[in-house]
């Protein structure tokens, strides 16, 4: 057995205990983790300081360094998030369907944990804790695999969480970290289907694509977001301008930010009259088709073909005209990433056509795409936003970290 196989087998064993643990025990474990994070924060902060110095010496850029850095306030925020997870309802054990058959067998479909969840993530050290506690709350064990930049922080978080689990009588192996941060270990993890039930990559598009391509363990694809707002000929234009401005500039680095505005040609000029003053506030660069370049002159750059398929994550907005709602729908289905797509219109029929025809996890009518988020949807938690159609779609809360089993009771029935 390799090191990782041993870790997988231990996690699988721990998952059996977690599946049987009651809500109270799981909540006690989460509160013990929150307390331990505060009590042992000096350890975590000093491990993180070492990571930080090493990354800085290695030439990491300022924004990445900021993501890597833990502070007393950030630790308190993480601990508070753990307490909130403890307060959420337990999804496990719920009977989701009941079937009584003519032959007398009684069938219940019951919610059960997924088992062992593998989380692959990049630099932020808080993800190790945020992700692990949601897995635990839903009765799972998890194997964490962070980047080498945060290995010291993550090893410390691992020790804190394992200690807290043991303190309430749960197996420490319900949480473990892959200590080997080489590419080989990541690759091995992606093929550990004997022990891992699902792999969830969290991070940039490159990471997610490579995991989805490589893994034989079932994977949930999260995150990539080329989102559009279509402004219809019958839109309320001040509303449209406000929605585009918000979806583009409120937090451009996230996946539910808008990357491209699609405009009915009849309102393109009027739309920009409303929107430009707002977009100017943040100096949003506009990359547009010829028609819009004609309207905007030097305020816009001409878009290349590549622009229609780019997630900028920046103060850049692509802009394109269409001659009908159907053309907008076809364009979005061809260039979107099935994340979040919006129509602004006062015409309910056009809205219905758009909402039914656009293939995305979340489709919006007259609201900002920025609402695609577990907390904004009221799930009370979020492990990521799924852009695939199997198992989970859109914001993933605790329910998406569960599966089900059929429990069949009889009195000796045979076929």
């Amino acid at each position: 057995m390799t090191v990782l196989e041993m870790q997988g087998a231990a996690a699988k064993k721990a998952a059996q205990a977690m599946a049987l643990a009651g809500t109270e025990t799981k909540n006690k474990a989460l509160l013990a983790i929150a307390d331990a994070l505060i009590a042992r924060q000096d350890e975590w902060l000093s491990a993180n300081a070492e990571d930080y110095e090493a990354a800085k010496a290695g030439g990491m850029n300022a924004s990445m360094l900021d993501r890597l850095k833990l502070t007393k306030e950030r630790v308190e925020g993480v601990a508070e998030g753990v307490r909130q997870a403890a307060a959420l309802p337990d999804p496990i054990g719920k009977v989701t369907k009941t079937i009584d058959r003519p032959n007398g067998i009684h069938i219940e479909q019951r919610r059960v944990p997924l088992g062992v969840i593998g989380m692959i993530f990049e630099a932020r050290p808080n993800v190790a804790v945020d992700a692990a506690v949601l897995c635990l709350k839903a009765g799972n064990a998890c194997i964490l695999r962070g980047g080498k930049e945060s290995i010291r922080s993550n090893m410390c978080a691992e020790a804190i969480m394992r200690g807290a689990l043991e303190s309430v009588g749960l197996p420490a192996d319900a949480v473990s970290l892959v200590h080997d941060t080489s590419r080989e270990s990541a690759k091995e993890l992606m093929h550990l289907e004997k022990y891992i039930d699902v792999l969830i990559p969290r991070g940039g598009a490159g990471l997610i694509r490579s995991v989805t391509k490589e893994a034989s363990v079932p994977t949930i694809r999260t995150g990539e977001g080329i989102c559009h707002v279509y402004v219809d000929s019958e839109a309320d234009l001040p509303m449209a301008a406000k929605i585009v401005w918000n979806a583009k500039t409120q937090r451009p680095s996230v996946c539910n930010a808008v990357e491209c505005v699609v405009l009915h040609k009849s309102i393109a000029e009027a739309f920009f009259n409303e929107a430009l003053p707002l977009l100017d506030e943040k100096n949003v660069e506009i990359r547009a088709d010829a028609k819009i370049c004609n309207i905007l002159g030097t305020r816009a750059k001409e878009a290349s073909d590549e622009d229609w398929d780019t997630e900028y994550n920046d103060y850049i907005l692509a802009a394109k005209t269409v001659t009908s709602p159907q053309e907008a729908i076809d364009f979005i289905n061809a260039h979107g990433t099935q994340h979040s797509e919006c129509i602004v219109t006062e015409n309910a029929e056009t809205a219905a056509l758009f909402l039914n025809s656009v293939d995305a996890a979340a489709v919006y009518w007259n609201a900002s795409t920025r609402f695609t988020d577990g907390f904004e949807f009221g799930l009370g938690a979020e492990i990521g936003i799924s852009t695939q159609k199997l198992h989970a779609r859109g914001p993933m809360g605790l329910e998406e970290l569960t599966s089900w089993k059929y429990v069949v009771c009889g009195e000796g029935q045979i076929r």
Copy 2:
């Protein structure tokens, strides 16, 4: 673009039309398919006769030849199955969750089709039709990839189904067959995530494992079944014998048949007193641990380690003793395939421990594992039995061929 990419793009376009098709149109399409199968049966039968002759000349064995063969009766059975699918309730469009947020946005989670479903299957020509019509009923397009043995039959079924789709105004491309039956085409299909939303392999364990290993398209693992019956010290032994006999011999070639009986040592001898007369009827071979070999003498062979991990699909039964229910649970979790697992006991507490602790799609108390089946569960259809925990677990009906989207309506809300 390759041939397969063109086929994928056409299927994706057709999927958009299928997603918008109403229940009535979809049902008309299914009834048109059923009628056309009957009206054009001579074509289908003669294409099948060619397949049959070629396979026979190529040395295919008798049981495989029987699977390949279509008859007038079999065609009528397939057409009848299509009519039954038309009569099932349409899963699409149902609102499965409603969320109203304090900011006034209204969120509905609505059931939508998966999109494009790829089906990879082996020799039986009826699968092409059975699988396609369930995909269509759930609003999907599908790409079928059968074995080379049934290529003529499948091409004919493809032509019949495409003609019927067009006759009701739906796109023919909602059903298409991969005509190239080489390994390369199968491999390309497994990486066509740009156009295919999910891949469902149906066939032997070898096929399913190779697809799950290779595919970057999300896959649903079906079929492999090493199922156990645990007979507890407090079992009703005549009931236990009847269940084991039924689960082993009623149809040994299927995945929900039992492969191994696990016996509490205190009742091992008494169990066989009840069970042997039944098992003898079919000359069931017994491969057992030393304790059982001691009891049964020459009636049993000594099991090798491999026996505990073998799906016989034959009149062979592995048999093993344990000293406690927990040992049975651990053995089953180590050697099962998470398909169907049964305990026979009169003790409700022991039953609950087993049902909660055994990790399988279906867990049984005092009933035969043979009930794990879409029709036996009352789903009215079955596309396969999933042994994974993501998206689908256990018998898959129409609902498992769907996903959902969030539809968010606002009045200009922003964050």
